[in-house]
Symmetry: C2
Subunit: 334 residues, 2 copies
């Protein structure tokens, strides 16, 4: 603290106010303190890194995902591991199950074990607590979702536009009763995809029917049950947009007879092209997401202190058949 105050030419009290985010500090002073913190923190971190490499052998980075059992995150993890391995780093991987408390525990365990950086799929909690780790020299990159209250490099896909395109595709095939089945709404990607669903309906002048919208589907059985319930409505949906792979799998379980619905899913699945009908999907590339995040992190670890970047990777819309499918009872093509 004293070193920082001296380097910035301010009092230790001022440094304390800046670091704790207290009001009444001019932007110029805050910037001067920030520069000093970064400069000294960086030196300290450099020293710490050479010391730790001596003590701990191989350098590590940490990867914190929602759920390793989800193939999307498993592929992302492997991609990060391959990038790290090429650079002589080992990756520590952990899951949060989207629980902010578990996220904090995993991150605390990783930083106590002196990772050089973290790649984080943030939970819906707030992430201000990471500022302390970052001030201590741990680099952070977010992937799949941005963190709240934290300005760091972030790699996402075009969730909203891609979901809008998927629903527009169903509308173009004559569907007007299109259900939305989604995971927890407080997950950023889910809110974005739901916004895309609404955009598409609005562009076609169709009001959103809340009876056709289900959030909070966390598992395959929950998604299956949700679709089964929707199909008992007096005016049931003729098509479904599913907002992640787990929900798509659950909906596939509940299709079959009577005549299937139109279906477009967010996320591709192994064997999707071998189903009857083959599955139309929004395909995002977890390997590219993981690789891009790893590259950003390693450039930060190497000393890149430029302004945080937001990288948006484009999804692909893969038309295979299920989104072009209409029931016998479905509406005529619009």
């Amino acid at each position: 603290m004293k070193d920082v105050a001296r380097a910035a030419g301010v009092s230790p009290m001022t440094v304390s106010r800046v670091v704790s985010g207290a009001p009444g500090v001019t932007p110029e002073t805050a910037a001067r303190v920030g520069q000093a913190v970064r400069k000294l923190g960086y030196q300290r971190n450099d020293n710490a890194r050479s010391l730790r490499q001596k003590n701990l052998g191989t350098s590590t980075i940490g990867l914190v995902v929602d759920d390793l059992a989800n193939p999307f995150y498993a592929l992302m993890a492997r991609s990060v591991e391959d990038e790290a391995h090429r650079r002589g780093h080992v990756v520590l991987v952990g899951s949060t199950n989207d629980e902010p408390q578990r996220e904090r525990e995993v991150i605390a365990a990783f930083t106590a074990r002196q990772v050089d950086g973290l790649i984080l799929v943030p939970t819906s909690g707030s992430h201000g607590f990471l500022k302390r780790q970052m001030a201590g020299g741990t680099q952070v990159v977010c992937v799949d979702r941005p963190a709240r209250g934290l300005a760091v490099d972030t790699v996402t896909v075009d969730n909203r536009a891609a979901a809008g395109r998927a629903v527009t595709h169903l509308l173009g095939h004559g569907h007007t009763r299109i259900a939305y089945l989604g995971d927890r709404y407080d997950i950023w990607t889910q809110a974005e995809r739901h916004a895309g669903y609404r955009d598409a309906l609005a562009a076609h002048g169709i009001p959103e029917d809340p009876a056709l919208v289900r959030h909070e589907l966390r598992s395959q059985p929950q998604a299956r049950a949700a679709l089964a319930a929707l199909r008992t409505l007096p005016d049931p949906p003729t098509a479904v947009f599913t907002s992640n792979d787990v929900i798509t799998l659950g909906v596939l379980d509940a299709l079959g007879d009577p005549a299937p619905l139109g279906l477009v899913g967010f996320d591709d699945l192994p064997l999707a092209e071998r189903l009857t009908p083959p599955l139309t999907v929004v395909s995002q590339d977890p390997v590219a997401l993981g690789g891009t995040a790893a590259n950003l992190l390693f450039s930060r670890i190497a000393g890149d202190r430029s302004a945080p970047r937001s990288v948006v990777l484009l999804t692909r819309f893969v038309i295979r058949g299920s989104g072009e499918h209409r029931t016998a009872a479905g509406p005529a093509r619009g």
Copy 2:
């Protein structure tokens, strides 16, 4: 070293000879030294553990798998994480890509970061190097495969019997030209499954035809190419046994026209029951494997020093259609 010598009533030189595995030490002396090492090592480890919990926060265990991108290991990892989380531990996960060198790096990085124990899917390399970590108090449990040269708790499935049953099933449906498509033969599970394939053929008096056997298939494209090549043989197979999920996916890519072959795969797949025909598989439960291994590890961490256990979990044979399928050109039912 001196403490051990004193406790064992021998000279420091003798301790050194025992620890380094030098010849000319009587078994009785080696046992006495071993007891002293374990006793003192255990105390030291207890002290170290309370110290590390103070410094590092949450306790950790390490999980080292072949490939996180393989859904089988991803599900296993999540299962280990859930068991660990219930006990207040965080899991560090890493992949070896089945390379002994990468395995050593990952294990070294984990032990340097003071994991209380390791759950290991061992590569085909030797694992004597782990004895040093174990003498230092790190508990080790192997899962999926046994480690060579290391007597520790091990959780596997009935690979050989299950593969034998799968191939017997194909034989029972009239197939006599049955191909075996496998991963690297030096992976223990692959050698076991190939042995089961041979057992079944031998029990039916059918000699193994080397032209129908392919090892070393590490990826989906390699498996696809291998099957395509087999189908150009003058006397092609009428059925295929695939020895893991990745190979099954590759073979499914190469099926289609002309008329498909009989197929039984080792490992179940999401959507397997929705294929045409639905996929017949040997299903092993990665969640049970991971959970059992975690339970064994935590009982070791809690102080259980009983003799190493070998736990074999039974697979399920799931008959869905693809293994009962015969080509028009296939042999009559035997």
